[in-house]
Amino acid sequence: MEGVCGREEQGRMLASLLGQEGSPMPCSLFLWGHSGTGKTLVARHVLRRLGIRISHVNCVEAFCPQVLYEAVLSQLRGSVPSATTDLPTPPTCDSLGEFVHHLDTVSRAGGQPRMAILLENCERLRDSAANIFPGLCRLQELTPGINITVIFMSTLPVEKFRISTGFMEPLVVFFPQYTKDELQEILQTLRPSTASQEFFKNYISLVLSVFYLATRDLAELMHQVQQHFEAYCEPVVRGEAEEEDVRPLWRNIEPHLKKALSTVYLREVSRTHFDKMQKLIETSVSEMLPSELRNINSLSSKTAIVELPLYSRYLLIAAHLASYNPARTDRRFFMKHHGKQRKTQASIKAKERCSSHLLGPKTFPLDRLMAIFHSIVEEDITPTASLFSQLATLLSLRLLIPSGGDDVLQNPKYKCVAPHDVVHSVCRTINFDLSRYTYSQA
């Protein structure tokens, strides 16, 4: 199989299962394995080689069976879908029965070709309709005389699909994770025509040595390989190093890769942007406009800065405290004269210290939030309508979320889901000493 490396076994298996022209095909196949292990690639490759007509549907898109059926039919028919009324539309098809009927006509019109339905992300089928997955599993039984097979692809094992009755197990093909050598070989195919074999191979092994521990996701690795190649080539382009000098090249690229390691999976900065940032930093800072400066700062700094109105900040802090402090300690933290602490408190605290932050935020009623809010804001403020609308804003920003409660009208309950670093940076902007009020650190 050209263009596909390390998947010979699966390819052979698929080809033999599907058989040659004229032999009956299996009812259904189930390919599973991690994302990026080449399921789609191998399946399409094999099907194309065997001359089987393909319809390829992603189940994420098929939110109801009808969409799925119609997509499959239109692909098998080879027609172009149209949404506008000015063209004749294919007949609608919204049940399995109709689907079978239409398949029959399609098959007859095409001279009974071998056909395959490829279903990507088929775990989504489970939520769309109850009978669709088992129905598709035994599609051949419903369509005598049509040479059709259904190929499911998923990242989940088949056990997650079983249902109690009427389930016919599809033939399972597993796609294991690539080994390091296989990865090396696959990444090698990315080689641009300008780079020599050896040079690129060295580069790939450098990248793998850095990233292999963090991720084995092929797509991510490919991204990283493409991202840094230019930087890797730089010394060669400038004439400072030869293509064979592995060591200086490594010294040049290492900091880049190490930096990128912290942003694996975060495609926040595309390459052009990355370059732009570098350039901006290089140009003298004085030439820059303040807004640009701020841009860079906020991009490069890791802390999350959220600009909020003053009272919103206090509300957020109050919500955070209400979520992480047990309610019975409120007296201690927020009353001016809370009396002496009993000695036993220390022992209780020791027991609970670990729990409060590990267990995540707890729900709190609105009353408690407002009480804490008023006690941490020094000055007297009247509860205005805008104060409550700020609460609504925080909710819509998903810094707080409503969390049930039996009485949504009179005593709504919330939970603070703002990340800790956001809360801490908010505290810093208003010089609020959070640790003084936090239970587990008190």
Binding site: E70, A83, Q226, S270, P383
Partner: protein
């Protein structure tokens, strides 16, 4: 509204008749509601005059504001549009040239180019921001599919998106904007067929790879977005829906009304800067409000877009309020690996506010000015509550209306060239309203005796005086604003910034008090007095720059400027001489030391000497420094007095923050407690008039009586006692007629009234039933909010 024949109580929905007759009815203008302050007939003229001045004022203001709104984001937008354009070009290049193996194809992996626009949390402004972005995109990509704007719509998102894109529908025509029903101008899209495959096919058809022939351009390009009906999403997958059609629609109309030249300005800017566009424009999908987008829908959307990347060039634009991290929070890592995201930051709204204050409030272009307290109020609302410039300008508008409605003399508050005409229309008694102004009376009293009489009697003379006084006031205000900026430049870099770092903070102080008397200023002076020379030089340079910018032909400012230049010249001169002396001294000292390296006594003496010299020199500098400080203090003392010290300030300045506050700051709880404790406040009826607030009168509404009685109880309220007290109060009126009901046997009717009142209180959240004690209610602390 038509009645129903139903006997059940309930809320019935009536479908609105298709053609509203209102369209043909004359539109009500603000004039019809104008002037609750003028009861008298003869003041009808005033009504006209003040309304005229008001409209002209507001027109000026809104024009400036619109210009600002369009320009404030122009820079970000420009880079955003460039990004979209280049991303689109790359994408379509990928599509046409089938994936060659050259490098730099991050896109070959199925990454969807995404622009993440961080807008800040000011919700009300966001609509306007995206509005202008959409307008910009449509104008720059004239030949493209329109950008589509999805507002946190869930599962119907796909339908909406595609129908917007294909139909060109969902973009209602301008003439139909009154129609609530969907008006599709393009081809109709069937709901069931809204899949990406359909979109891909459509895209292929409308943008064939071969040179385009006459393409069907969706007609009716207007800017009113997303009017698609959100039809009920079916299936259990559909998350909760959150659309705000009404508000967005309203905003649309507003912006349509005053959309005009300014927006065109940015457009042309960008068009000029863009290279010619490709034949295959990208499809731009804007998701405002990413946070409230259900994560699952977002995930699917990204996956689907990435899947179809080969056929449909989609560029996503996410509107994020908080931080770009949010995108990753709501996406699975699989989906977020499908994005190639770039972050753009819109100007923070504080920055926007600064320019609004600078252009609108601190300029004489707008004749109306805010006094100290209203300004502080608006500023507080902005900083503490919403960070929304839109709300700030709304507040400004309210203040303006209030000013023109409640002050008869405000008709003079118009641009200087119209004042003459305004005064010409005025009759004698009306002129008296100006004469009665306290500041004018003070002026008359201070005038020499021979002028006092004509000022009170002679109409023409008075008018002339008024005109010149107002002109003076204008000049004074310009100077005032310039000096506020000077004060800010002088103090903003002091450690701790005692007067704040922003111009607005200084302005807020200066508008309400005389600057030099404030504590903040004393602090700042202390800071200035301990400043090093280099710092002082740079500060003086700043001051000089500000003054040069603000000069505007004012003589006094010119004088100040020359003085400042002199002072800074002396400062730097001082620097040079001291440096020269330093060098000389250092040379001499060095020679002495080298001459007698072993003589420690001499060395010590020398060092002491030089230290003394230094002290003397810095004394020279200190003198100059205190001279500088004194100079500024004098200038501020004479020119930075609050506007209330000026004659006729009532005409141009709005001072009553109480009125504005009543309208701008909603106080639900106080309103409720006032209504319950003193119904007369709202009902304005004679029966409920109370002599003292806590008094209990029989004629009060039941709920009010119950409320007052419950205030007297502790945390737990015994229902029976409460009932007794209630009956006692309410039945006082019947005392004379019927016999007093025995305490055990309460009138059924009264009991029913009591129960109703109690349940109303419970509904308002003042009390709630408890299980701890039978027949008791608990008072709640935070009731009614």
């Amino acid at each position: 509204m038509a009645g129903t024949v139903s006997v059940s109580k309930g809320v019935f929905a009536f479908k609105r008749p298709k053609h509203r007759s209102q369209r043909h009815a004359p539109r009500l203008s603000t004039l019809d509601h104008w002037g609750h302050g003028y009861q008298e007939e003869r003041e009808e003229n005033f009504k006209q005059l003040t309304h005229l001045s008001y409209t002209s004022c507001w027109n000026i203001a809104s024009q400036i504001l619109q210009e600002l709104q369009d320009n404030i984001h122009s820079k970000v937008f420009q880079s955003l549009v460039t990004y979209i354009d280049s991303a689109g070009r790359r994408l379509t290049a990928d599509i046409t040239t089938t994936r060659d193996q050259t490098f730099g194809l991050t896109h070959a992996l199925g990454n969807v180019p995404t622009a993440c626009l961080v807008t800040g949390v000011n919700m009300p402004d966001r609509d306007a921001t995206f509005q202008s972005l959409v307008g910009l995109l449509r104008s720059t990509s004239r030949r493209t599919s329109p950008p589509c704007r999805v507002k946190s719509a869930p599962r119907a998102a796909m339908y909406r998106m595609i129908s917007q894109l294909i139909g060109g529908g969902g973009w209602a025509g301008l003439q139909d904007e009154e129609e609530e029903e969907e008006v599709v101008t393009g081809p109709k899209v069937k709901r069931k067929q809204c899949t990406m495959a359909v979109l891909a096919a459509w895209y292929q058809r409308t943008h064939p790879s071969s040179p385009r022939k006459a393409k069907k351009e969706p007609p009716g390009y207007t800017r009113s977005p997303t009017k698609t009906p959100c039809s009920p999403s079916k299936g259990n997958r559909s998350p909760t829906k959150r659309t705000h059609p009404s508000s967005s629609r309203k905003a649309d109309k507003d912006t349509q009304a005053n959309e005009g030249s300014p927006s065109k300005r940015i457009k042309s800017n960008i068009i000029a800067s863009l290279p010619e566009r490709s034949d295959k424009p990208p499809i731009v999908i804007i998701l405002e409000d990413l946070e409230s987008f259900p994560p699952r829908v977002l995930n699917d959307l990204v996956l689907i877009c990435s899947q179809y990347r080969a056929t449909v060039p989609v560029v996503l634009v996410f509107g994020v309020a908080t931080t770009p991290d949010r995108v990753h929070h709501s996406l699975s890592h699989h989906a977020s690996a499908c994005l190639a995201m770039e972050v753009f930051r819109a100007q923070p709204s504080t920055h926007y506010l600064t320019s609004v204050i600078d252009k609108v409030l601190m300029s004489n272009e707008l004749p109306f000015h805010l006094g100290g307290r209203p300004f502080k109020l608006l500023l507080d609302i902005f900083l503490y509550n919403d960070l929304s410039v839109e709300n700030f300008t709304k507040g400004l508008k309210v203040c303006m209306m209030e000013h023109f409605m409640c002050h008869a003399s405000s008709f003079l508050c118009c641009s200087p060239k119209h004042r003459q005409d305004m005064l010409g229309n005025v009759t004698g008694p009306q002129l008296d309203t100006v004469r009665k102004l306290p500041s004018f009376r003070a002026y008359v009293e201070a005038a020499p005796p021979q002028e006092q009489v004509p000022l009170l009697i002679d109409e023409d003379y008075t008018k002339k005086t008024i005109l010149s006084l107002l002109a003076e006031l204008d000049v004074w205000y310009a100077r005032f604003c310039a000096l506020v900026k000077v004060a800010n430049a002088l103090t903003s870099r002091l450690p701790g910034a005692p007067m704040g770092r922003q111009v607005r903070e200084v302005l807020a102080v200066c508008l309400s008090r005389s600057l030099v008397d404030t504590e903040e200023y004393q602090e700042a002076v202390k800071g200035l007095r301990s400043m090093a020379r280099e710092e002082l030089v740079t500060v003086m340079q700043c001051v000089q720059d500000v003054l040069e910018e603000q000069l505007g032909g004012d003589e006094i400012l010119c004088e100040l400027l020359t003085e400042v230049i002199l002072l800074s010249g002396r400062l730097s001169g001082l620097g040079q001489t001291t440096e020269a002396e330093d060098e000389k001294e250092a040379g001499g000292g060095g020679a002495a030391v080298t001459l007698k390296p072993s003589d420690r006594f001499h060395l010590r003496e020398k060092l002491l000497d030089s230290a003394k010299n230094k002290g003397k020199k810095s004394n020279k500098y200190e003198c100059l420094r205190s001279e500088v400080v004194q100079f500024f203090s004098d200038a501020f003392a004479s020119h930075l007095q609050p506007p209330t010290t000026q004659t006729l300030h009532e005409v141009l300045f709005f001072h009553s923050s109480r009125a504005a506050k009543k309208m701008l700051v909603g106080l639900p709880r106080p309103a409720l407690t006032t209504a319950l404790a003193n119904p007369h406040h709202y009902l304005q009826c004679d029966c409920c008039r109370l002599d003292e607030p806590s008094a209990l009168v029989t004629t009060l509404p039941d709920i009010s009586v119950a409320y007052k009685l419950h205030l007297e109880c502790g945390r737990h309220i015994n229902l029976f006692d409460w009932l007794q007290a209630f009956v006692a109060v309410v039945s006082q009126e019947d005392d004379e007629e019927g016999p007093v009901t025995s305490s055990r046997n309460v009138d059924q009717k009264l009991q029913a009234r009591f129960v109703l009142a109690v349940s109303e209180l419970q509904f308002l959240g003042f009390i709630k039933p408890t299980k701890r004690k039978t027949d008791h209610m608990v008072r709640l602390t935070w009731g009614g909010c």
